[in-house]
Symmetry: C2
Subunit: 109 residues, 2 copies
DNA sequence: CTACTACACTCGCATATGCTCATGCAAGCG
DNA sequence: CGCTTGCATGAGCATATGCGAGTGTAGTAG
C-alpha cells in the first residue's frame, strides 16, 4: 500500500475535517440529508435544533465540502456533496461494536 | 446496503470518536506508532510535544481504544490497537485531494 | 538509604466552540 | 409601499479543551 505523505500540515487539515464530524448535531444533519435535499426549516423540524444553530452548522458543513447549497426563492436547499461521510461513520460504528463485543466477553461469565 | 440504526445516542458516540481524531497532535502520535510500539519519551522526541501533553493525549487514545499500553519497568510502551485509523485518514485525504483538484480546475485557466 | 528516571496527574490560563437571543436581509405578497 | 417568510449573522454566555508548569509516584541504580 502506497503510504501518503502525512506531514504536520496535512495532518492539521485532516484533523480539521474530523472536527467537523465531531459534533452530534452535524452528524444528525448529515443523516437527515441522506435521502435527498432539504431546506433549513425542514432540518430544524427534523432535528429539533434551533434555526440559528442549524444554519451555522450548515455553514460549516458547506465550508468543509460535506454539503452544498442551492438557493431558490426564499429557500435554501442543502444536499449532500460527499457520501463518503457514511463510509467514515460505518468504520467508526464497526469499531464501537467490536469494542462492545470485547467488553461483553469480559463482563459476562 | 443495510443501513445501521443511527439514533442520536449512537451519533453521540461516533462524534466522540471523531473528536479524538480531530487533533493534529493525536494524529501525529498515531502516525508515529504506525511502525511499532514506542515509549512516551520516544513520542516526545518524535513529535516535539511536551511530555505532559503527550501523556494526556495517549490517555485519551487509550480510553478510546486507538492505542493500548504495556508497562515494563520504568517504561510505558504504546502500540496501535486499531489500524482502521489509517483507513479513516485515507478517506479524508482522498476528499481533500478531490477538493484541491476541483479548485485547481476553477482557478487555473 | 538517596538520587535519578520515566511517566501520570493537578492546576491555572488562553482559546475555541456550541448555543440562544436578537437583528439584518433578501425574496415574495398584499 | 409595508408585511411576512426563510435564512444568515453578530453578540454574549457557558462550557470544553489544548497547553505548560509544577508535583506526585513507581521503578531502578548507586
Amino acid at each position: 500500500m502506497a503510504r501518503r505523505a502525512l506531514t504536520p500540515d496535512v495532518l492539521a487539515l485532516v484533523a480539521e475535517r474530523f472536527r467537523v464530524l465531531a459534533e452530534p448535531a452535524r452528524l444528525q444533519i448529515l443523516q437527515c440529508l441522506r435521502d435527498g435535499e432539504l431546506t433549513v426549516t425542514d432540518l430544524v423540524l427534523a432535528t429539533g435544533l434551533g434555526q440559528a444553530n442549524v444554519s451555522k452548522h450548515l455553514r460549516q458543513l458547506d465550508a468543509s465540502g460535506f454539503v452544498s447549497r442551492r438557493k431558490e426563492g426564499l429557500f435554501s436547499f442543502y444536499i449532500l456533496a460527499d457520501r463518503s461521510v457514511f463510509q467514515l461513520c460505518e468504520i467508526m460504528c464497526d469499531r464501537l461494536q467490536a469494542e462492545h463485543r470485547a467488553r461483553t466477553r469480559v463482563l459476562t461469565r
